[in-house]
Symmetry: C2
Subunit: 303 residues, 2 copies
């Protein structure tokens, strides 16, 4: 596999790279910002690409935010973007449940392990759900819970899917309910299975880690609808109708973002070094996932 | 591998089986009882074995209870047993930390993911710890936690070990702290890694599932000090000085109890069908873990 091209500081190489593509798919966390910290030059880079007529799609595995939430975050950071340009893993999962699975009511209820972003996207697709941010489940498990989960009386008979995303309010009660629904035959889906969450210049447990307990108890991993799942790429292509050979995926994670672009047979992939993966990971001899090019930070595309 | 002998209802076979052993190691949950439900004949079976002069050791992976807690449970169920006869995974882990690892103070503090049973056994071995049942950690994560875990200011510099057991109060804050300590170089131990917990005639997430999130985030599994780890068998033998060829392990789980006995080269293993594993699991062609014998329930040993 050929070595990736290093673009930072090389104006001619940057221009040539940008000119190869009509569409840029952007990961968000670790690329545009880290938590609340906006990387320098992000807004200007987005403007520059728009001025060149590029189509932009923001493809995020963050399931805690809906497209509308993302629009607010873009606005607050001074980045021009529309809710329509955002494609999140919660949206991807909701679309999968409503348009691919097509579960028949009333057995189409979703038990959610996650935050409001998932709930909003399920609502938008008219999918009934329980769990999620329900305050009744944000408590310790008690002896009667064991009894009523054990005998099934605490379970909703219409739950056909368990959908796991990033849940900052994960607890043993919710894990037990999710596990019980899976044992009763519910399908097991995940918005995404990122093991870590970049936040505050550090790493925290990601959606894949929050959901790992239920997966371990059940003995089976969920079907993930976020990057690098090609179900997500197909859904994005279905919505935006782009030419894959003229499309570039920009991301900080080799195992999700860059793999997503490579397996999606895009024209190119661009790694930024402001997130999870370090250049040593893809420059190493025998590296499995290697981007087309890399830059220190997204703003370096300004040249 | 030869088929296991079925003992239920066969008085002669039962007597011959019991006569082969001087020592019986018992798993507890799923063998003696399921949660609060005592299986019929349990107390009488224990009495019968004592009357025959057998040495009994109760070997449990349940990390939520200390040996003293177990003694109380035995008393409440009318089963004769002493705290000294109980060998739990919390005790096993505490002994490993104090006598094998021998970490030098002050860098010998343990961050606990678990309940009071772990704390009591650490105290008994004079090992300092934080986390565990600390009420200050039984809350939602907030933005300042992200910041202070991220910059390390919320972390105790003397934590040298993360010890994970069954934690009914698992939350994102505790997972984030455990993950941060591991990233700073703390050793990663688990009292046990059972994927499920038999309770209320059903299954709930076990210690291995509660700890799976941190393991997934960190990318590495903990060293487990419970069954089937032979570190636990060595510790039991060190304490009780028995002849392995004259010892039988009794348990309901093939992948922990029966494997523990087989890998420990005990004289025999006895599976009971009141817990996790069904007879189909070990009677199947090509089954990997096969007990010497099996019975429907422990009380069937009364003949």
């Amino acid at each position: 596999m050929s070595k990736p091209q290093y673009l930072t500081g090389d104006k001619a190489a940057i221009d040539a790279f940008i000119d190869k593509f009509d569409v840029f798919l952007f990961d968000c966390d670790g690329v545009l910002w880290s938590g609340e910290y906006l990387f320098p030059g992000t807004a200007e880079t987005i403007e520059m690409l728009r001025a060149k007529g590029k189509q932009l799609v923001f493809v995020t595995n963050n399931s805690t935010k809906s497209r509308a939430d993302y629009k607010k975050k873009f606005d607050s950071k001074g980045i021009t973007a529309s809710a329509e340009e955002v494609f999140g893993s919660s949206y991807s999962a909701a679309v999968y449940i409503s348009r691919i699975l097509k579960l028949q009511p009333p057995k189409n209820k979703v038990f959610v392990l996650g935050e409001t972003g998932i709930e909003q996207e399920l609502q938008a697709e008219n999918i009934p759900y329980i769990g999620g941010t329900d305050p009744a489940l944000r408590r310790d498990i008690d002896p009667s819970d064991f009894e009523h989960i054990g005998d099934g009386s605490a379970l909703d008979p219409n739950v056909g899917v368990v959908l796991a995303g990033l849940d900052f309010h994960i607890n043993y009660l919710k894990m037990s309910l999710a596990f019980a629904y899976l044992r009763k035959g519910a399908l097991y889906l995940a918005t995404n299975i990122d093991s870590t969450l970049p936040q505050a210049h550090s790493l925290f447990p990601g959606a894949g880690s929050v959901g790992a307990g239920v997966a371990k108890a059940f003995g089976k991993d969920p079907l993930a609808l976020g990057k690098p799942s090609q179900a997500m790429m197909d859904a994005i292509e279905g919505k935006f109708k782009f030419d894959r050979s003229k499309t570039c995926m920009v991301g900080d994670r080799l195992d999700t973002d860059i793999r997503f672009g490579i397996e999606g047979k895009l024209g190119g992939t661009l790694a930024v070094l402001t997130g999870v993966s370090a250049k040593e990971h893809f420059l190493a001899e025998g590296a499995e996932v290697v981007p087309t090019a890399y830059i220190d930070k997204l703003g370096d595309l300004l040249g």
